[in-house]
């Protein structure tokens, strides 16, 4: 079998394996396990799309929480029935077109992605006029503005009360389906001429421009694709936890995503996947530090908030001493594995 067909075969096998694992968990897993797997998939989608902008384009975008929020609200407002909306909006009634619309979950996810993309397009002009630290602070500011608007526009978002009682449409197939889709789309993009142009801009924008690469156009495409998947993930998240409020989408969400992609390796899609999986698992595993611990002879009281201290320390340690993270800029795909195996066989 030649290399290309082998790789396609192996990818197929991997997909089937993932399918079987998910099937086993959806049939026999506990609610808790299914919940962690769902979180994992949503984190993968978010981290992979965030890494497209931060890792491959080399710009520090600090506003993915805004796109997740926009996606979550869009999708939630579209799937709620008019009766549910009336029950939720007790302080101010909801504005006109939204109060009668009700669409299926799939369409609401698509709308969530598209709305996030639209907002990304609108802010891209001021955002890409600047670079570096300024870009970071402008995108961070966008995240804050969205949060303020979510709180203030009571007749659209129900303000600080949030939206309650969404139907729990999200399941393992949706979350992992979207995660696989985002991985495929983004890694295809990275291995195209577009992706190479993005990396050129990251390394040296002036040189890339001299080669005829238009930075604005390329960065915009990456930014829009990233926003689309963030929006869809937001929709999935909303229908997973079934209650959303502006406090869910603060800068903390962006910070968590940043930890995932830095630990995984900035500029590596598989790195982002590994980072997201570790985060979803580690976030649960670290709960023990916040619970009281009984060591037999002494009882250590739990320390609430200790997990965030550990995460911030982890981020700083990785960036200070192991800046490449787990994967650096390399990928873990069948090509790499097969080449390694070949080398083992013929030393």
């Amino acid at each position: 079998m030649d290399r290309d067909r082998l790789k396609i075969f192996l990818n197929g096998v991997t997909l089937v394996a993932v399918f079987l694992v998910l099937f086993a968990f959806s049939r026999y897993g506990t609610d808790y396990q299914v919940r962690i797997l769902n979180n994992m998939a949503i984190f993968i989608t978010l981290a992979v799309s965030y890494n497209l902008v931060n890792g491959y384009c080399g710009i520090l975008h600090l506003g993915p929480n805004a796109f997740v929020a926009i996606g979550a609200y869009t999708s939630a407002l579209l799937t709620m029935t008019p009766a549910e909306k009336q029950m939720n909006f007790i302080i101010q009634p909801i504005v006109w077109p939204l109060n009668v619309i009700e669409v299926p979950f799939v369409l609401s996810l698509l709308a969530a992605g598209l709305t996030a993309t639209l907002f990304a397009f609108l802010i891209s002009f001021p955002v890409f006029r600047v670079r570096g630290d300024y870009l970071a602070i402008v995108t961070l500011g966008f995240g804050e503005v969205v949060r303020v608007l979510c709180n203030a526009l009571q007749n659209v978002t129900n303000g600080p009360l949030g939206l309650k009682g969404l139907s729990p449409c999200t399941n393992l197939w949706w979350t992992w389906g979207v995660a696989v889709l985002s991985m495929v789309v983004i890694s295809r993009l990275i291995h195209s001429s577009y992706g190479r142009a993005l990396k050129a801009i990251r390394e040296d924008e002036t040189a890339a421009r001299a080669m005829g690469v238009d930075p604005f156009q390329h960065l915009l495409l990456a930014f829009l694709i990233s926003a689309f998947f963030s929006g869809v993930a937001g929709g999935l998240l909303a229908h997973l936890i079934t209650t959303i409020s502006p406090t869910l989408f603060t800068f903390l969400l962006t910070f968590n995503l940043l930890i995932m992609i830095v630990v995984g390796g900035l500029g590596s899609t598989t790195g982002a996947v590994i980072g997201a999986m570790l985060f979803a698992w580690g976030g649960e595993a670290l709960r023990i530090v916040e619970k009281p611990m009984d060591l037999g002879f002494v009882i250590i009281p739990g320390i609430p908030g200790m997990r965030m201290v550990i995460f911030s320390l982890l981020l700083m340690l990785v960036i200070l001493f192991a800046r490449r993270g787990i994967m650096g800029r390399s990928e873990l795909n069948w090509e790499v594995i097969l080449t390694r195996l070949d080398r083992l066989r013929r030393p």
């Binding site: 630290d133 300024y134 940043l258 908030g305 995460f311």
Partner: protein
């Protein structure tokens, strides 16, 4: 709006603006030297406020001992921050430095959360700051008047250090060019430490006054003043101390007066600064007093 109310709001605006200015100076000085947004700078306000509370409440020190100690402690925290989070990354890509800054900011906030707890603590307002005076028929808290005066005194002291002393000359040189400054026999790392010390001392003074103005101290109290002070620094032209002061006053006055004029906008107050930032970056990226951008290599 009657003229009395306008005058009242004007004084409030100047008071808030001088707090932004104090914090903005720290951002602008660090940016001038390292070309880095020190995300953790705002959290130094929180460090100062908590240290001052502990000085007064736990060690029962009088305020005129506790406040200077808090300022000193915060200054040392600033130096430590540079040593631990930024110094190892001097030659690293800028994105790493920024990520480290964000990590440091979260670490400070969450350490405070773990050590002290998330329940807001009341800041004791010492007697001399708690009075209310009658001024031209307005009832004004003396704190509102003291704040701009303290800012002015600190600003003059800082300008003296930067423009009239050897250390100041070295700081100005380092903000132009590290290599040449080193060749002149100047220990650049020491100069950076001094910069962090000065910036943190001003932030600490701002933090204590902020805590007296809004006496609810919690681990995240520094986040918003910090972000807004940074925007004030950009507005004034980053890297320029007078610019930071002007930007701080403009932002403080603007926030207060807009909300006073159109009370319905009060809920959008926190978004106002960011919209202003986008406008400044779109139309005059160098700010009011700024020179054209130079990339430091």
């Amino acid at each position: 709006m009657t003229s009395t109310i306008f005058l009242q709001q004007l004084i409030n605006g100047v008071s808030l603006g001088s707090l932004y200015a104090l914090v903005a100076i720290g951002y602008t000085m660090v940016y001038g030297i390292l070309r880095l947004i020190n995300f953790a700078h705002g959290d130094l306000l929180m460090v100062a406020a908590y240290t001052a509370i502990y000085g007064i409440a736990v060690f029962t020190l009088p305020w005129y001992v506790s406040f200077p100690l808090a300022v000193l402690f915060t200054g040392l925290t600033g130096i430590l921050l540079d040593r631990a989070a930024y110094k190892p990354l001097r030659s690293a890509p800028r994105i790493s430095l920024l990520i480290s800054a964000i990590g440091a900011s979260f670490l400070l906030e969450n350490l405070a959360l773990v050590v002290i707890g998330g329940v807001p603590k009341a800041f004791p307002r010492p007697e001399p700051f708690d009075r209310v005076v009658d001024l031209f028929g307005l009832r004004i808290q003396v704190l509102t008047i003291y704040t701009p005066i303290v800012t002015l005194v600190l600003l003059l002291a800082l300008l003296y250090i930067v423009h009239r002393t050897k250390v100041g000359k070295a700081m100005r040189a380092a903000s132009r060019d590290f290599e040449t400054t080193r060749l002149m026999g100047i220990n650049v790392d020491r100069i950076i430490s001094v910069t962090f010390l000065l910036g943190s001392v001003l932030a600490a003074a701002g933090g204590i006054m902020w805590a007296m103005k809004y006496p609810q101290v919690n681990p995240f109290m520094g986040v918003f003043p910090g972000l807004k002070a940074f925007i004030a620094a950009v507005l004034g032209g980053i890297g320029n101390i007078m610019g930071a002061v002007i930007g701080g006053f403009l932002l403080g006055l603007g926030e207060i007066l807009i909300v006073a004029a159109v009370p319905e906008l009060a809920q959008f107050r926190d978004a106002f600064a960011f919209v202003l930032l986008v406008l400044v970056l779109l139309f005059r990226p160098t700010g009011i007093m700024g020179e054209p951008f130079t990339d430091k290599t």
